[in-house]
């Protein structure tokens, strides 16, 4: 195989890169040694790309860690050992890592240490849209934010140097459109860091007990102050002043990240790019005070263009007060732009026009309401999760009990939709078991409490909550949907598969053994093939009716991976068909099981199987009560 374009050693070559590839490239160019993280959209492709670079750059020592906290700690261990290190995660991952992160920021970095947080305004694929720039203010470390793929590569490369020079951890914040957008990038030099790595036994720094932490805190404040003073010279910050007036008023703008890029194009559209002052931030925290003061005293009205929280806007207002400029300059932000979601292209046109008082007529055709049902993502044909959820719905009906299905984050969350409607809660990873512990304290056996979560999620943060249930004797049934993959985020391996990110063999952690080790007695542990529906129902019935902490492991390879495996091994996918003479048109398979490969011919009143998308899981054969679905053997 030829070397992928993002790994080539040809400085100056221009290529198209996904934002996440550009970040990976910057990490490579910076001579980083340790990379660790946990998958999460929109960040996952960064480590995936580093894994593809690894064969050509064996010094890269990367891993998918068990969760973001451990991933952060792995990277930080690297930094303590003088190696450039990076921790990668989505925005909510930093919540998980924050315990380590908040105190590590006191001790700071030895080898350059960068934490990448991929934020997700608009919740494209997240449970919330928190603004992680706050973490910089919270932990007193600098936050860098790139506005293009090129800048992402250059800025993260620089971040490691900066981190080492100032002994600070750097938070590198991106948003979805940067991560999942492509841009032209010029490849740079791949640095060779030639220095010994190893731990230094500096206990006064690395042992954060109170007497040390007080000292470290003083140093942290000094460090942040110093960085704050340097912000004015930061190479990725720039102030472009214009003394031009528009209708007698001088206008200024501040922006960073994708909003900066979008703002620039908008100003160009209006022919205003040289008629207004613009402060571009590459380091958003701490802000460059002198540049801001200069801007405040050079214009009459400023618009801060930032998605989500008014962080820069509030800082600006504070600085205006401190500089006694409150009466000289108007500061705007959230009175123009929303505090929620992503700003669309037309919002920029509209708000900038509004702000400057120019006439702007929408170009688009009238926005007529169209009625078109949504195209929601669904569980794939042949998805083993569907089979497990279907078994649960059958049991609920049979036992005439209302289950509380405390669930979690993964592909299986899609079972919230019709027809399965088997997901009652989803807050955060691992939350299914934690919440179930609480429900168990309120509800009696009238409402069996199920905690339903995936294999990767169980390893990520389900384990402590399971131990909690054992210890405190909270009566719950944990259902682990073990599809041998972290599917939702792109099929990453996990301890249950025992394969490492490099595809080399690691040590497999067997879920049933782990569960036993958590104190769940053997008679309370079941392991079944998810796609054997009849057996699933029988054994799940047993599990639901038993008492105590129980764990039911429903195991079957993710159908997308199974299809790949079949193709690779040239195994014929089973052909499943409907015998129209036996199909009664009861619609149970279509309306209650709901595999996308099944449809109903309303004229013939028979079920059809779409052979194009059927993956031959054969579960619908058991779903049909009239033996009308069969496997064709030839």
């Amino acid at each position: 195989m030829s070397m992928p374009y993002f790994a080539e050693e040809i400085p100056g070559k221009r290529v198209i890169m996904l934002g996440n590839e550009a970040i990976a490239r910057g990490i490579l160019e910076a001579g980083v040694v340790i990379g660790a993280g946990y998958p999460g959209t929109p960040s996952s492709e960064i480590l995936d790309t580093l894994a593809k670079m690894k064969p050509y750059y064996p010094h890269l020592n990367i891993e998918w860690s068990i969760n973001e906290k451990v991933g952060f700690e792995v990277a930080y261990g690297g930094s303590m050992s003088n190696a450039r290190s990076v921790a990668l995660m989505k925005h909510v991952g930093l919540n998980v890592a924050s315990d380590a992160f908040m105190t590590a920021c006191y001790a700071g970095a030895r080898g350059g240490m960068v934490v990448v947080s991929a934020d997700d305004p608009n919740c494209f694929s997240s449970q919330n849209e928190q603004d992680n720039r706050y973490f910089g203010l919270h932990a007193l470390i600098p936050v860098f934010e790139p506005s293009t793929a090129q800048e992402a590569k250059d800025l993260i490369k620089y971040a490691f140097e900066f981190s080492e020079e100032h002994h600070t951890i750097v938070l590198f914040r991106t948003t979805t459109r940067l991560n999942h957008g492509r841009g032209d990038v010029m490849l740079g030099e791949i640095q060779n860091i030639d220095r010994p790595y190893g731990f230094d036994w500096d206990r006064a720094r690395w042992v954060c007990l109170p007497s040390h932490s007080r000292v470290l805190r003083t140093k942290l404040l000094e460090r942040f102050e110093k960085i704050s003073n340097l912000a004015d010279e930061f190479p990725f910050n720039s102030l472009k002043l214009s003394s031009e007036k528009i209708n007698g008023i001088r206008y200024g703008f501040i922006a960073a990240g994708i909003p900066y890029a979008q703002l620039i194009d908008t100003l160009i559209d209006f022919g205003l790019e040289n008629k207004v002052s613009i402060l571009k931030l590459g380091m958003v925290i701490p802000p460059p005070k002198k540049l801001i003061r200069k801007l405040l005293s050079s214009v009459d009205k400023i618009l801060v263009v930032e998605e989500l929280e008014p962080i820069i806007e509030n800082i600006l207002k504070q600085l205006a007060y401190e500089n006694k400029l409150v009466n000289e300059v108007e500061i705007h932000g959230k009175d123009y732009f929303p505090q929620q979601g992503e700003f669309s292209g037309e919002i920029y046109l509209e708000k900038v026009a509004n702000f400057i008082g120019i006439k702007f007529e929408k170009n688009s055709i009238p926005d007529i309401k169209i009625s078109l049902p949504p195209r929601l993502p669904v569980l794939c044909p042949g998805c083993s999760h569907r089979s497990t959820f279907y078994a649960i719905t059958l049991l609920e009906k049979e036992l005439k009990l209302k289950f509380i299905n405390s669930s979690d984050i993964g592909c299986y969350t899609l079972a919230v939709y019709k027809p399965l409607e088997c997901v009652d809660t989803e807050i955060c990873m691992g939350g299914s078991i934690g919440l179930a512990n609480g429900f168990a304290k309120i509800h009696s056996t009238e409402n069996p409490i199920l905690a339903i979560l995936g294999d990767s999620t169980f390893f990520h943060s389900g384990v402590p909550a399971l131990i909690n249930a054992v210890y405190n004797q909270n009566n719950i049934l944990v259902v682990i949907l073990d599809n041998r993959s972290t599917s939702m985020t792109g099929f990453q391996d996990n301890p249950g598969t025992g394969i490492k990110i490099t595809k080399e063999p690691g040590t497999r952690v067997v879920i049933e053994e782990l569960v036993r080790g958590c104190g769940v007695p053997s008679e309370n542990i079941w392991v079944e093939d998810s796609n054997n529906l009849n057996k699933m129902v029988e054994k799940l019935r047993e599990a639901v009716k038993s008492q105590g902490v129980r764990v039911f492991i429903s195991r079957h390879l993710c159908s997308l991976l199974e299809e790949r495996e079949f193709r690779l091994k040239q195994i014929q996918i089973p052909v499943v068909k409907v015998d129209p003479s036996k199909c009664k048109g009861c619609l149970i398979c279509v309306n209650q099981f709901g595999c996308p490969a099944l449809s109903f011919d309303s004229e013939e009143k028979k079920t059809n199987i779409d052979q194009e998308i059927c993956r031959g899981c054969k579960v619908c054969i058991s779903v049909c009560q009239y033996d009308a679905i069969y496997e064709e053997i030839n």
Partner: protein, 218 residues
């Protein structure tokens, strides 16, 4: 930077400084790949390029859209409603979902194929028919063209060549300011050796279809 522009579109692109394409369809149809191919082709023509894409849920059958902008000077990927030059829709209902991105100068190319989302009926919705969607779109828009690209892909030899047919149509229509050479090179970049012949045919079939659309335009 040397600006290379073909086919008499100079005024258009220089005045606008950038050219915008919106690709839409359903997960699995190759929307992201198509966008990637266009991005590399634009790079070969010497332009700055930006895209923004839907990732993640794509394989779960959801709606997928991808923005592409290129030109001598472009900073950001998102296209304001009303300012798209070309909308390339791989599926007809997905075309309707983004109709309001088009403005007076937008050309709308629609693969006349409907993919009914699974479970819509069970959710209590009724999905409109192909004809109905076609009519709605025609009522709303002027520069809109329908064709059956899936059929052309099959004719070339594989349904998987759908995106290459679509690219051919775009090129043949003469509305895309990218050189044929660059596009062809870029396509080859993403096609495994063994499928190159099929895709070459698919590309030609697409170009011919595009040319017939172009005659309609004149």
């Amino acid at each position: 930077m040397v600006i290379q522009i073909n086919k008499g579109l100079e005024n258009w692109i220089i005045e606008k400084k950038r050219f915008s394409v919106l690709n839409v369809g359903v997960g699995g149809q190759g929307i992201i790949r198509t966008t990637q191919i266009l991005a590399w082709a634009a790079l070969m023509d010497g332009y700055q390029v930006r895209t923004a894409e839907t990732h993640g849920m794509a394989q779960r059958g959801g709606s997928v859209s991808a923005y592409l902008r290129f030109g001598p000077e472009v900073a950001s990927p998102l296209i304001p409603k009303g300012y798209v030059d070309i909308i390339l829709a791989f599926e007809i209902s997905e075309a309707l979902r983004v109709f309001n991105f088009s403005g007076p100068n937008t050309y709308f190319f629609v693969n006349n194929k409907i993919i009914i989302p699974p479970m819509v009926n069970q959710m209590g919705f009724k999905y409109p028919s192909n004809e109905n969607l076609c009519q709605q779109l025609k009522n709303l828009l002027n520069n809109i063209y329908f064709f059956d690209a899936d059929k052309l892909a099959l004719k070339a030899g594989t349904s998987k060549a759908l995106n290459v047919v679509m690219l051919g149509i775009l090129l043949g229509s003469d509305k895309l300011p990218i050189k044929e050479d660059s596009l062809q090179h870029s396509i080859l970049r993403f096609i495994p050796k063994k499928s190159q012949e099929v895709n070459r045919i698919a590309f030609q079939l697409g170009i011919e279809k595009g040319k017939s659309i172009r005659r309609e335009l004149l």
